[in-house]
Symmetry: C2
Subunit: 231 residues, 2 copies
DNA sequence: CGACTCCTTGACTCGTCTCAACACACGTGG
DNA sequence: CCACGTGTGTTGAGACGAGTCAAGGAGTCG
């Protein structure tokens, strides 16, 4: 009855994302997709090899970049959401002692070994995307260095909301937050327990609502205010 | 009597630094220098314009990249030492709401407006330098998110020692640390008072010696251990 | 000799961590 | 069908690291 199913929104998320940084012609899209190859699936918790691996796009699921200290403390450096590229820019290309870890079941699409973004629109789009990614790393530094637990949480939730909205994974102000509180803790430089308390407090303050892994931002303006960073 | 004085070590620091990432031929150096223009001096505390400005090299003095929150809290994102480039890579190019501030009297050399690193050796060297810079941002995130004051301080001092050693500004294990403790505090995400206490503790532990702005690392191995990040 | 800047130290507060127990959902096997 | 484990979330009590407030010390400059 049905023809070939249209790809889910997120399956083309990388295009959505690149297009935010400048119009792409059909030929750009063709040129890009011609260089994309096999799709690989990983289970949650899997450590993806970064060194020596070709660049890739996240098709579905969440992953993160992190570093772990000798005694086990872990700092998550960035979340990787559907549409995010890994290994295209310097940041994610073979930095020493950085791990990429699937936070949920993950599908990624690898680029061919000798990947190059030709033309002039594609490289610009990639560069702009890398810059946005960098901006988020800077936000992260400010959160970790100078914000309270409450501010950090508000700011991160807003960031995730905004990024998910870009790829159509937000309904109303509600989105799926498929990570354990432990992961939020490692991202925010807090303890698991304190993450929980902070979330409870935000709930009591009427800023958020949580049902299972469904997160709803009930009062974005108030959260912006609480997060302080204007971003 | 004397001929033209040889340029001070640090005046060519950018070459020293680029050369660490691959051999440069004379023609590369010539091509690079042909695109470098006026030298500008700034007093300590001066806020350098980043947006719209051409890229530049720090010739002498220290600067930093930072972001300030509405209520005045400030996070220093990176230190810029002699030889460091600003604005060549995405990280330092017109990121929203980032300031570059001279921490000491500063001399920078601007590149021409349409700067491009031609050939294949120069771009590689620039890319490698950007990657090293990125690696330091990651170190910074881990420090801020997951390390204690003592560990942060040890790690940062080692980083600065290493970077200064590269450009010949270390004698023995002693170097000039031309910043107020307030600046260290803003870099490490600590309060000024706690920075002071941490330094005192390191002194008592025999790890460092401080005379004015002269900093000596008395026991690098112990500091590496204390800093935990293997880096 | 002030006046200023920066460093140092003490006393107290507070945010966050740690340890520990319990709650709740889910899956599995008896 | 229920008992039980396991993983995750929740909550309390106490400890501790770091912040804040405040005062004094040391150096420098006019």
């Amino acid at each position: 009855m049905l023809g070939v199913p249209a790809p889910r929104t997120s399956e083309r998320a990388y295009l959505t994302r690149l297009r935010r940084h400048g119009h792409l012609h059909d030929e750009d899209v063709v040129a890009l997709e011609a260089q994309l190859g096999r799709i690989e699936s990983y289970p949650a918790g899997k450590d993806l090899a970064l060194v020596g691996a070709p660049p890739m796009f996240v098709m579905s699921g969440w992953a993160c970049l992190s570093r772990t200290l000798r005694d086990g403390r872990r700092q998550i450096l960035a979340f990787l959401l559907p549409g995010d590229g890994v290994g295209f820019d310097l940041l994610t290309r073979s930095q020493r002692s950085i791990e990429a870890i699937a936070l949920t079941p993950l599908k990624v699409r690898y680029a061919q070994a000798g990947f190059t973004a030709g033309g002039d629109r594609l490289p610009r789009a990639f560069a702009a995307a890398a810059m946005v990614q960098q901006g988020r790393m800077i936000d992260q530094m400010v959160r970790l260095g100078r914000q309270t637990a409450y501010e950090r949480m508000a700011h991160l939730l807003l960031e995730l909301h905004g990024r998910l909205a870009e790829i159509g994974e937000v309904r109303g102000d509600s989105f799926h937050l498929p990570v354990k509180q432990e992961v939020l803790a490692d991202a925010l430089g807090l303890s698991l327990v304190h993450v929980n308390r902070t979330l409870q407090q935000m709930r009591r303050d009427g800023l958020i609502d949580m049902r299972g892994s469904q997160m709803t931002l009930l009062d974005r303006p108030a959260m912006e205010l609480a997060s302080d960073q204007s971003s």
